[in-house]
């Protein structure tokens, strides 16, 4: 093997894909027909998220060596990343004919089946199971099987798969994230936050983990808003029946104590460097920021309803109600205005949303956390 390609291979292993790309390109300048260098270039580009360019390089490698399983595998994986399900599945099936007994062929097949807008979950689950049976020692196969099981609604099985992946590799960030995402979807709020914090500690650069942590924050804010609304009704009732200030203040004190206790618990579950102050808002995506701001305003209004004199409290109650009506009307108008667009793009809407508004918005819209496959 060319020593430069050896070096590039090590650089890929050291998570320096840009340096590996440079070496691969140097090799290709001298040997433009080197399928090995093209394959390596493709992998280096994939590692940098440049899947379109990677596709070109790996296709060129495959044209030079049409029966080389590595090229077929890489191209199938790249096309899965690009969401080209049909082409990825076709290549994965070809890989299965070339290497039927290798776990990686079934693994790539499962990934290909899960890619695109209409994942074939049942078939993907079967393929992931075959990969797991061939490589039970590999945490990646358990993780993928967990993702497939979760997609089929088999949450207990998914949880067992993630636990097994973490037993095999306790530092495996993908399984940590996926387990926490599952916990969040099941309403296990504390465990999800702690799991994601552990994953973020190990992979602070990973945007998927950070994204899921943002989702934890927003889900928490949503629940707080709902609790605020329920307590707002109680405060309004107390004001309506003319309950003495002491009674309102007592209920308010209990509310504040509970809120502070919950905040303290919540804070402990978040990464140490993540503040709950105004800086947090700056870090969140705009769509998430609105939820947090609304929850904060509701909390402030509630405190005024409980502790302020009757006149001020009543005025605040009316103002809050008006504000909420206005927000509700704006949201409704937004939905109605975007309805023709969504209908025209039926079927493609979620993908477009995904592309234009970022992964967070798309996942939140579908009520899902992001999982690693």
């Amino acid at each position: 093997m060319n020593p430069d390609l050896d070096r590039a291979e090590i650089l890929l292993d050291l998570h320096r894909p840009a340096d590996a790309e440079r070496l691969a390109r140097d090799c290709l300048a001298g040997q433009p027909d080197s399928a090995e260098a093209l394959n390596l270039l493709g992998r280096a580009l994939n590692d940098q998220g440049r899947h379109r360019e990677a596709e070109g390089a790996i296709r060129a490698a495959l044209a030079l060596e049409p029966d080389e399983g590595d090229h077929v595998l890489q191209l199938a994986s790249t096309l899965s990343q690009l969401g080209q399900q049909v082409a990825a599945v076709t290549l994965a099936q070809r890989l299965l004919t070339l290497r039927p007994h290798e776990w990686s062929s079934h693994y790539i097949h499962a990934q290909a089946l899960l890619s695109g807008r209409r994942p074939r979950r049942r078939s993907a689950y079967d393929a992931a199971q075959r990969a797991r049976d061939l490589a039970p020692w590999n945490p990646e196969t358990h993780n993928l099987l967990g993702v497939c099981a979760a997609d089929l609604g088999r949450q207990d099985e998914a949880e067992a798969c993630y636990h097994e992946a973490l037993r095999l590799d306790p530092e495996y960030v993908f399984a940590m994230n996926n387990l926490a995402a599952l916990d969040l979807d099941r309403g296990r709020f504390g465990r999800a936050g702690a799991g994601l914090t552990a994953a973020a500690q190990r992979a602070p650069q990973d945007d998927v983990v950070r994204l899921n942590l943002d989702i934890v924050v927003v889900t928490w804010a949503q629940r707080l808003s709902l609790a605020d609304l329920a307590l707002g009704v109680l405060a309004a009732a107390l004001l309506a029946i003319g309950a003495p200030w002491v009674v309102r203040a007592a209920v308010g004190t209990a509310y504040l104590a509970g809120l502070l206790g919950l905040l303290a618990t919540f804070r402990r579950q978040l990464p140490r460097g993540l503040s709950l102050g105004p800086r947090l808002l700056g870090r969140l995506p705009w769509s998430a920021r609105r939820v947090v701001v609304l929850a904060s305003l509701c909390t402030l209004a509630l405190v005024i309803l409980f502790f302020a004199p009757v006149g001020v409290a009543a005025a605040t109650g009316v103002a809050t109600l008006t504000l909420l009506q206005l927000v509700g009307a704006l949201v409704l108008a937004g939905w109605l205005l975007s309805l023709p667009y969504l209908l025209a793009r039926q079927g493609r809407a979620s993908w477009q949303w995904h592309r234009t508004h970022g992964r967070w918005a798309a996942r939140r819209r579908r009520g899902k956390t992001v999982r690693f496959r």
Binding site: P204, G273, L274
Partner: protein, 409 residues
């Protein structure tokens, strides 16, 4: 033929070369004459002298095959002349001196062609006082590393162990290597620098043996500062590695750091990385590379010193270093060097265009500043995520403070 027989022949060649030189001086554009002279020089083993003549010949006749082939020979590395005296029994001599001169390599081989990695030890002349600014870094270096090294009595009194090394981390191009060299200078120790390129070659070869050899060289050169540059390349988290070769190199590094089977007395371990969060946590346990020092972009004083250094040998006029330093807050040392080069380039191109040589002025720096921006932005983005999400144990508190100060967290 014996060397004695060669002597008159060489003297004849020298005379011929001298007369040809005179002829070339008289007719400097005569390609045939130039090639003939070069041929004689190359044959006499004086290839370096032949190169300018061949360059002149090729200027006049770029297609000359004879000149090209001679140039290739002249540029080729010269083979050392083998001793011709067959009466010397080299094998016996080597055997006799085996106790006095250690073998070149561990396996006793003398030929380094396919031997293990052989690092070079250098003596450095820089001291910490040569590092401009960075007062805080120097103070912390003194307190955490140099003071215990320099005071053996106090060390003994407080039972302070010398085990363990220091990891310098920070954005790229901010002088970590220079600080490491200065530490070696302060300790009066030799300096053994292992870079990423060496590490990659280690992995391609027999990585474990090469890591072993590296530490052996450092122990032999003791007192020696062993500087592992780009530590994340050699000490990457093993859980992130796909190949067993890289894992075994980290394992061997751990063994060597622990001094298993050998004493690391006199070997001071320094490491540098831009990405300390990618370094295997096993390497950072007590007794290994257990101390860290954040080397930040140069402060105002350091920037003045760096700019002064890079402008020292350049024709400059009325450069306001303080003003420049003020405008380059957040620039790394490498960025400042680039800035000086860009300004000089602007003046050079202008001189070439006008035909009038002029000095580098502040206006050139004004123009250069529009193009040369601080390069540490991406590093700061990464560091910000680490300070927020990956600082559970507080090891990056100093970094978090710096980022807050810069309004990045």
């Amino acid at each position: 033929m014996t060397p004695q027989d060669d002597a008159p022949h060489a003297a004849g060649d020298d005379a011929l070369i001298a007369s040809l030189r005179s002829a070339v001086d008289a007719r400097p554009a005569d390609v045939a004459l130039l090639v003939h002279l070069a041929e004689l020089l190359v044959a006499a083993g004086r290839g370096a002298e032949a190169i300018p003549h061949l360059a002149t010949a090729l200027t006049h006749d770029p297609g000359s095959r004879a000149a090209r082939s001679l140039m290739a020979r002249a540029l080729a590395p010269q083979e050392p002349t083998a001793p011709n005296d067959e009466s010397v029994d080299w094998a016996a001599l080597t055997e006799d001196l085996a106790d006095v001169v250690p073998p070149m390599f561990v396996d006793g081989s003398l030929d380094g062609a396919d031997g293990p990695y052989s690092p070079d030890v250098e003596q450095v002349g820089v001291r910490l006082s040569d590092v401009g600014g960075l007062r805080e870094v120097k103070a912390r270096l003194e307190a955490s590393f140099l003071a215990p090294m320099r005071n053996p009595d106090l060390r003994e009194l407080y039972k302070k162990s010398l085990r363990g090394g220091l990891m310098l981390y920070g954005p790229p191009g901010c002088g970590k290597t220079f600080v490491a060299k200065a530490v070696a200078g302060e300790l009066g120790a030799a300096f053994l620098h292992v870079s990423l390129a060496d590490v990659l070659d280690m992995y391609i070869g027999q990585s474990e043996r090469n890591v072993q050899q590296l530490f052996r060289t450092a122990r032999e050169a003791a007192p020696c500062v062993l500087f592992l540059d780009e530590l994340d390349a050699i000490g990457q988290k093993r859980s992130q590695m796909r190949y067993s070769g890289t894992r075994s190199a980290v394992n061997q590094l751990l063994t060597e750091l622990d001094g298993v089977g050998s004493d690391n007395e006199g070997v001071y371990l320094l490491a540098a990385t831009n990405h300390p969060w990618d370094v295997d946590s096993a390497l950072r346990r007590p007794g290994r590379i257990d101390r860290t020092l954040l080397v930040l972009p140069p402060d105002h004083e350091a920037r003045v010193a760096i700019l002064r250094t890079h402008l020292r040998d350049r024709p400059v006029e009325r450069i306001d270093l303080a003003a420049l330093a003020k405008r380059t807050d957040g620039y790394s040392g490498a960025d400042l060097k680039h800035l000086c080069e860009s300004a000089a380039e602007i003046a050079l191109l202008d001189s070439a265009r006008t035909g009038q040589v002029r000095l580098v002025t502040m206006r050139d720096f004004e123009s250069a500043l529009k193009d040369v921006r601080p390069s540490i932005g991406p590093w700061l983005e990464t560091a910000r995520n680490v300070a927020i999400y990956g600082n559970a144990t507080g090891e990056y508190d100093e970094l978090a403070r710096y980022l807050r100060k810069r309004g990045r967290s």
